[in-house]
Point group: C2
Chain length 544, copies 2
């Protein structure tokens, strides 16, 4: 017996219609690539998104077509988000920080029809353009005055000259009715960064994006409302800036887009000018901001919370935000395959009531899942492990915004209905999850697991150590044993003995690496992560 | 092209599984019909809901079967909510305040299989039992010690003796796996109070209840989180206590159930003891609480917000909560046909920044819709009217938790895809909606509309008037004209002239009633509302 309520689809266009109607004065502020600050309202954005939908329709964009972007966080990118998905096409955001060959692969694999590009990224496009058979046209996200002089020569595709976004938009009116269709339709496409192997696409649906937005705005997640002022430094070119453009629109929150400038000085100025109270980004960005503030003896006055994701925030960062700026750092965890939101460690009354030192121990955790994400830790055989805060397990997830299969793949990405995140984690009795390691990096010693990350975190506390890397390498008796590699601080010369002794009393004896080597350099990925696979290869015979 | 994410259903059982796993210590506190306070956790509740599902299964309850309740807000009712819907049956809450013949009609119409009853309501059941052919059994929501001595005689149905909830529950274990099924399946059934005509059923689905819960918990709605402490005085026997049992479970909030005692003293004690910070109920309940607090010179110390729905809160109540207790009164509006949430008038930064007098003008409004509810005002022909804060229109709604058709009816309840709420409202440029009148009560004079409620609100300010009623009655020239009827205060004798003069300067001249009559009494419905239809009938020839 089915319910007697309306069964209409959950569509992304509804978000903007709602904001236009009930939060028409809500502001969207953007630092532009061209220079000045741009400022308008949800009502203006909605009008322009409709003009854009008419423009895209005139270019032949149809339901299900992919429209790609290489763009910063800004109002034109925001208009693309809503116009492309709203009309039933697929908004395909591309990460310009990938290697050019990865970008080329992605554009080929997705068969994008149009590519919308900020001025900053034209050189990449000019280089790749000849290799992209499916691409029909380039749209340059600027006005007439800023179109490059050689655009016709360098950005034409076949007999299609590039389009100037503003000039063409102005030719279309804002009479447009957003179509209704199944909310299972693809809305947004994002490829994983692909540190190993080719990038893989994840196609988010309208339903998943709306549910994700509902889950995101709740007080124990991002706590967004019509009186929030949100600065997403996390890029719209990867996992939809953690869904912020949707969740802000759902609530009518003010949004502040930083454009291409994400250095400490630029961010501090924007935060102060616009009175941002909620920031989101990866640790590197906040290191830059905190450095700038420290060096210039400045403080954050309006910010209440900073969400940190992408990788773990160091304890020093949690402390500096709290003790210098009175800002609560919220650890969040998720991944491209999860749209991306999984867990957050938010300032509950209980956490706020703890002495700071105890509170920080919680704040280092990735937190509790929002409703919609089911989460468990399992052993090698897939058996659920206890929530005791110390047992390690493979972290498995499921839910309506978790991947089932990669884009254009028929193979299920699941194991018994759950997605294996590739992370190893603990869950404590109160439900707080903490990432311990990546599954491929955790060290399997005598049937037990050792966290390479925890050992590295300890090693970097050694007075002579600048950077540390711990890998598990084959061992005749224990399968694997940890090996420590360090880069010394300039003019320091740590000994093997002092490095190994440094672990004593800090971890169980059997966790302590069997050997330590001082090296000149360590291999890193394009995005700055340690390339442990290569370290393991180099040292695979170390204990044999 | 469909998305590549999981497409599993949104099920009510997932809420409790989530709370059990990640908010296992979250508390549910109940004042019981038997007397003492009962206290347990989401984890306990989840275990007992599973025992209950096993018990219901042993009684032959199947997917889609209706299981009815006549019960107060309490933990056993909560367990029923999750066990019945969770197993795929339909939780049918019945309002014990309806007339016995309405309750009988509802039980017959829904063909309920089981009826679960608090001790307080056994007399109703004993009376109706012979007339209910579909009903198989009564479950008495109590323990062995409190089973009535004559239960076997008075509560058996056919050869089925009544079941004692606690004794029977204890016989079943908590091994139960919630089934997965389409989230369009019916989950909860509620009948309208039916002031005119027979009560009509609205069957909420799993999907609608989950979406409604997501929308409810956001900061600009009920602002619920794991550190909330919520006291729903609004009854679980009508429109699921505004969805609070679901939304609290979604977030892990502490819930406090008042049981059968909703007088001021009982509520004040419970609020103080449990440190409730968020209350929900109808104006009458808060009048009782405020009276008690005033007379006993007490203050609310822990409460931050009170949600008022059902009917409009008087200005004096908004002021008393704010100025005496530092509590923000949130007007909410919705209806059985809307699950029920439509709009809320929440404490935004902008409202909080206004001088109190201006702020109160906003607080009298019903507020802005949450995302998910689309809302418009239209004229008689269905044309949309402007959001200028003064134009009246019929209030139309749509969305995934708005009715499409009544239970067991094939007829659409919609007009061009929208549900006509039967209310007349204005919407201001910032999106705030205010109910002006009921469509059937608004006075149509010379093609323009006059609010009977606004005239009544003015008339009760007259020093001689105790109660006022304004109706539109037929008029040879203007179609309808307003007629004022008043009950005088004891020992007061208002004249016709003074009554009519009292409107001058307070409304447009053409709004002023053409005549005023002092009467001894006015007709009311069972729930205390003015029965204007009867007043209109009595006086239909007044201007002819």
């Amino acid at each position: 017996m089915s319910g007697s309520l309306m069964q209409g689809p959950l569509l992304i266009s509804d978000l903007l219609t709602h904001a236009e109607t009930f939060h028409s004065h809500g502001e969207i502020v953007s630092r532009t690539v061209e220079g000045p600050i741009h400022r308008y309202t949800y009502k203006d954005a909605s009008q322009r998104a409709k003009q854009l939908a008419n423009l895209l329709e005139s270019l032949g964009v149809q339901h299900g077509d992919r429209v790609a972007s290489l763009a910063w966080n800004g109002y034109r990118h925001y208009e693309l988000y809503f116009a492309v998905s709203g009309m039933g096409a697929i908004m395909h955001t591309i990460n310009p920080r990938l290697f050019p060959e990865q970008i080329e692969y992605i554009l080929q694999h997705a068969e994008d029809k149009l590519l919308c590009v900020d001025l900053s990224f034209l050189p990449i496009v000019q280089r790749l353009l000849p290799q992209l058979p499916h691409l029909e046209r380039i749209i340059v996200l600027t006005d007439d005055a800023h179109m490059p002089a050689d655009a016709q020569q360098t950005l034409s595709k076949g007999n299609h000259p590039p389009i100037c976004y503003e000039s063409e938009l102005a030719k279309h009116n804002a009479e447009y009715e957003w179509p209704r269709f199944s909310d299972d339709a693809g809305a947004v496409l994002c490829y994983t960064s692909g540190t190993t192997g080719k990038p893989k696409g994840v196609l988010y649906s309208h339903r998943s994006q709306i549910l994700h937005a509902y889950a995101s705005v709740q007080p124990d997640a991002m706590n967004l409302s019509s009186h929030s002022c949100v600065l997403p430094v996390v890029p719209m070119f990867h996992v939809s800036a953690w869904g912020v453009p949707y969740s802000c629109t759902l609530t009518g929150a003010k949004m502040v887009f930083p454009g291409a400038r994400m250095d400490g000085a630029a961010l501090a100025e924007l935060i102060e000018d616009e009175k941002a109270d909620f920031l989101l980004g990866v640790p590197t960005v906040w290191l830059g901001l905190l450095d700038y503030l420290r060096q210039n003896d400045k403080k954050l006055h309006t910010v209440q919370r900073v969400v940190v994701g992408g990788s773990a925030a160091p304890l020093a960062m949690i402390k500096e935000f709290q003790e210098v700026h009175d800002v609560f750092l919220i650890h969040a965890w998720g991944m491209t395959e999860m749209s991306p939101l999984g867990t957050l460690c938010t300032p509950t009354a209980r956490l706020l009531s703890l002495p700071l030192d105890q509170r920080y121990q919680y704040q280092r955790k990735q937190g509790r899942p929002v409703f919609g994400v089911a989460l468990k830790i399992v052993d090698a055989k897939g058996e659920a492990l206890p929530h005791d805060g110390s047992t390690f397990g493979r972290l498995m997830v499921k839910g309506p915004w978790v991947i089932e299969r990669y884009y254009r793949s028929d193979a299920s990405a699941l194991e018994n209905g759950w997605f294996d995140t590739g992370d190893v984690a603990t869950i404590d009795p109160e439900g707080y999850m903490q990432i311990v390691d990546r599954t491929k990096d955790v060290i399997k010693s005598g049937g037990e697991w050792i966290s390479s990350i925890e050992l590295e975190n300890i090693a970097v506390g050694h007075p002579d150590v600048q950077e540390a890397c711990v890998v598990g390498v084959p061992h005749p008796k224990w399968d694997e044993r940890p090996l420590l590699l360090v880069i010394a601080k300039p003019n320091h010369q740590p000994t093997r003995e002092s490095l190994l002794q440094y672990f004593e009393g800090k971890v169980a004896k059997w966790w302590i690496p069997d050997d330590a080597i001082v090296v000149k350099e360590l291999p890193h990925t394009a995005t700055g992560k340690l390339l442990k696979i290569s370290v393991r290869e180099t040292h695979q015979k170390h204990y044999l």
